[in-house]
Structure formats: structure tokens, C-alpha cells
Symmetry: C2
Subunit: 231 residues, 2 copies
């Protein structure tokens, strides 16, 4: 099955890429927008950098730990559902056989037409359980190492992304100049990131590029205007 294998491979590489995308798109966007907002309210670049670093610490921990717990929750949910299916296949096999036929009836396949298949599954209980997990419940077996890798990838990408918009403030020591250079550097980084992301996810790269730049620009503009208005 070259195509299925190809797709599954795509999704596996996709997990790492997706985690980088999740971490970096927020890491480039939110600290950038926050620093822009603060620069609308204060002149002291030290404060802008402190605020930006505090945001990076908070955001990377919240996203990384959130990703860890989400992945672990998915794995536990899978195990629970699998145990339930194993019990049901053993205790109420007729009911489970009927469920397999019902899955196929939605596609106009009669119980008679699916009978040889259902029969074959009942002879291999483990394959039957796997079948129910995927085709009745739509659940994929989780990767046991995924929770930690996912957390570290998301958090690391957030930190890397977040340092980009802050570095001009550190280097220039001037809020206004820092904001201008930070906007140029970060929008360029968002554009490159969006372009590469588009190539990985199958969106047209130029469209993905403009999307990430618009999100970053809008978030920064909103934060700046809000801070100006109330400061």
C-alpha cells in the first residue's frame, strides 16, 4: 500500500512540523505584538525587554506543558477506549459484529455483503479491536514518546520565535527605533516562516506567507493602538 504508507509517513513528519508551527507562529507573533504594545506606552527599552521575556517564559511554559498534557490525555483516552473494545469483543461479540456491519451500511453495503469480512475479524480478536479503534471510533494509536517531544518542540520553537522580535530592542536601546526594526525583522521572519510552513502543510506558500504576516501585523497593531489609548 504505497499511498497509505506515504500518507502515514506524511502525518508522522507532520507531528514534528506541526509542533514547530504551533510554537513558532505564536512565538513570533505574541511577544512581537506585546513589545510593540509596550513601546506604545513606555520609552524604557529595558521594560519592553523584561515584558517580552516574561511573555516568552509564560507562553512557552503554557504552550509546552499544555501540549504535553494534551498528548498524554490523548494516549490515555486511546488506552481506555481500547480496553473497553477488548472487553466488548469478548463479552458481547454479537453486538460488536452488528456494529461492524452497521459501519458499512452507511456506505450502502448490506450485512450480507460485509458478512465474510465480519466473520474473518471474529477469528482474530486483536485485529478486530484494532479495526474497531480505527474504523468505528476513528482513533489512531498514539506515539508513546510524543508527549515529551511535543512539549519540548513547542516550547523551544516559542522561545526561538520570541527572541526574534525582542533582539532589536536589546541591540538598539531605543523604543521607537526598536519598534521599527522589530517590525521589519519580525514581519520578514513571519513571511519566511509562513512560506516554509505553506510548503510543509500543502497551502500555497505565498498565501501562507501573507496569512502569517497579516496575523502578526494585526496583533501588533491592535496591541500598539490599545496601549497608546490607555497608557
Amino acid at each position: 500500500m504505497p499511498r497509505i504508507r506515504h500518507i502515514e509517513k506524511h502525518f508522522t513528519a507532520g507531528n514534528f512540523v506541526r509542533d514547530v508551527v504551533i510554537g513558532m507562529s505564536d512565538g513570533l507573533t505574541v511577544p512581537f505584538a506585546l513589545a510593540a504594545g509596550l513601546s506604545g506606552a513606555v520609552q524604557d527599552t529595558r521594560l519592553i525587554v523584561v515584558g517580552g521575556l516574561a511573555e516568552i517564559a509564560a507562553g512557552s511554559i503554557a504552550m509546552g506543558l499544555g501540549g504535553y498534557l494534551a498528548a498524554r490525555g490523548d494516549a490515555e483516552h486511546y488506552d481506555q477506549e481500547r480496553a473497553r473494545e477488548q472487553r466488548e469483543v469478548k463479552e458481547i461479540p454479537e453486538e460488536e459484529m452488528a456494529e461492524v456491519s452497521r459501519v458499512f451500511q452507511d456506505y450502502g453495503i448490506t450485512a450480507e455483503q460485509s458478512a465474510p469480512m465480519v466473520e474473518a475479524l471474529t477469528r482474530r480478536p486483536e485485529a478486530w479491536v484494532d479495526f474497531m479503534m480505527r474504523y468505528e471510533l476513528g482513533l489512531e494509536p498514539p506515539d508513546p514518546t510524543r508527549a515529551v517531544t511535543s512539549a519540548a518542540t513547542i516550547a523551544g520553537s516559542y522561545v526561538v520565535g520570541g527572541l526574534v522580535p525582542l533582539s532589536p530592542y536589546v541591540a538598539l536601546g531605543n523604543a521607537r527605533a526598536g519598534l521599527v526594526i522589530s517590525a521589519i525583522v519580525t514581519l520578514a521572519a513571519l513571511g519566511i516562516f509562513g512560506y516554509i510552513k505553506g510548503r510543509f502543510t500543502g497551502t500555497r506558500p505565498l498565501r501562507s506567507m501573507s496569512q502569517t504576516m497579516v496575523i502578526g501585523g494585526l496583533a501588533a497593531a491592535a496591541a500598539f493602538v490599545l496601549a497608546k489609548l490607555i497608557a
Copy 2:
């Protein structure tokens, strides 16, 4: 199919709940942690509130627009893959029939046993395409209204969550007292939120409660210590 219907219903309600969870867990956590961090560096509560509101604006836009584009991207991906399957079912039906059998061979079902099913599918091309989308590619049909609803739900939940930790600074006008009350109020809110989230997602409520509180507390502590060190 009472159980399948039950599960699909669960997932549909799950989309809204999941969006609220996504928006609110970050909304309660990151502005709380950022404000805590800023209060480790400055005494001026006006600045802490400006920073916090700038963060809420940036975070809600980044997450909301991000959610919108992700949902729209999923829908487009589904449409593209569906068009491809429709072409393949028409142009290379033998190849597609072989793909259906191969899906089942993983479960120990021989080509002979699945033959009546494959035969039945070829007589209903639309059902066949639906079958391939779900069982070969593992893709669910997207809800067309989901992108906008998802964006609004995530962003709104972020704003609501983010105002909780900021209000004590506004009410008290004192950075130190604001931090203490903000930590108490926000950790309580995170606990309640985590408990309810646990009931919705199937994690044990008390465990979910302690998890959200630990994430929020760790993020705030890291932001505070970092800001203290460099301010």
C-alpha cells in the same frame, strides 16, 4: 448505530468545548503570568495593566485568527483530497478497488473476503469516495461554519480568561497587593476551569484541576523570577 451516533455527537459538542478550553486555558495563564512578571519589575500598576491588555489583544488575535486559518485549511485540504478521490474512482477504478482490499488486509481480511464489499462500493461512486475519505485517508468532513465559530470562541474565551488576572491590579492600584490577589483569584479560576474541563474531556476532574493550576503557577513563577533577575 446508537454508539457511533453518540460518539459523533460527543465530538461535535467537543469542538465548542475544545475551543473554549484552548482559548481560556491560555487566556487565564499567559496574561496572569505576564502581569506577575511585570509586577516583579515595576511598581506602576498602570504599566502592568497596559502590558496585560496588550497581551490579551495580541494573544486573542493570534489564537483566534490562527484557529480560523487552521479550520479553513482543514476544510480546503478535505475538498482537495475529495476531488482527487473522485477523479481516481472514475479514472483508475481497478487501482482504487485494490486500495480498498489493501486497507482490510492489515486486519487479516483476505481480498476474497472483502470482495463482496468492494463490489458493492463500485456500484455507488459517491459512497465509495466517502468511504475512501474516511477509511483510507482518515479524514472527516469539515463543518463549513466551523472556521468562524472556532475563531470567535477561542478569541472570546482568551479575552474573558485574560481579564480575570488583570482585574485585581486595576481594582487595587498596587503592584504587590495586586499580584497576591491576582494569584489567589487566578489560581482559583484555573482550578474551577480545570475541574469543569476534566468533566467535559473525560480526565479525572481533580487531576485536571491540579494540572491547570500547576501550569498557571509555574508559568507565573517563571515569568516573575525571570523579570526579577533581569530588571
